[in-house]
Amino acid sequence: MKHSSVLPVAWVTLRAVIALNWLFGAAILTLLMATFIAEQWTFTALGVAPSSETHPMIIGMRAIVVLGLVAIPLNYAVLRRLLAIVETVRGGDPFVAANAYRLQVIAWALLALQLLSLVIGGIGKVISTPAIPLHLDAGFSTSGWLAVLLTFVLARVFAAGTLIREDLEGTV
């Protein structure tokens, strides 16, 4: 099999994105802790000075930060398995049952991430006010849901392909 230069690039990129994901996780965790340890300072810096009026917004923002933390292990589940798939492609044997299973787990994780994005977007809309508008890159995404569907289909294709290959290997 001819080795493509895309695979080493994908491998390095995925490694970097995995590291970045943990860094983002640490940053979100730090932010969450800061909202409790130095509430006044943190929320003022975020443009929402704590008061009885902004209290619901502060609770909503904390909820968004917590949901952001939940996204970190989900991202990791996707990236780690994608990396494992790339490694099997580099090894020259990608049509294995493990990859079909990995793709299925990726599809479920992507589904969870899309649901998380919907919830975050919903909270953002509820707590956003004309005085303090909240602009979040979250909510319904056509391409995101298409990716979920595509990954589920691809997992089935891989599972069927693996069975066909096993049959072919046992053909004399």
Binding site: E166, D167, E169, G170, T171, V172
Partner: protein
């Protein structure tokens, strides 16, 4: 397995080794060994034709169906 490959018997009848047959029908010894030991999932018509041609036999001489395996499966399912 319900289908039994009788390659061993045929080779014995023709006083031929698996290696000799493999050479004559141009199939690797490893693949032919898989067929002989009943580990193959499928057999190509071309392989069947080549074996029958060299051993002068019919496909039915090479393969045998054992219905007791089906009965075993049924009793296991029950």
């Amino acid at each position: 397995m319900a289908i039994v490959v009788k390659l061993d018997d045929l080779l014995h009848e023709h006083r031929m080794t698996l290696t000799e047959l493999a050479k004559q029908i141009d199939i690797t010894l490893a693949n032919l060994s898989i067929l002989k030991t009943g580990k193959a999932r499928a057999i190509r018509f071309s392989t069947l034709e080549a074996i029958c041609d060299v051993l002068g036999c019919q496909p039915g001489d090479l393969l045998e169906f054992h219905s007791d395996s089906r009965a075993d499966k049924r009793s296991r399912a029950a």
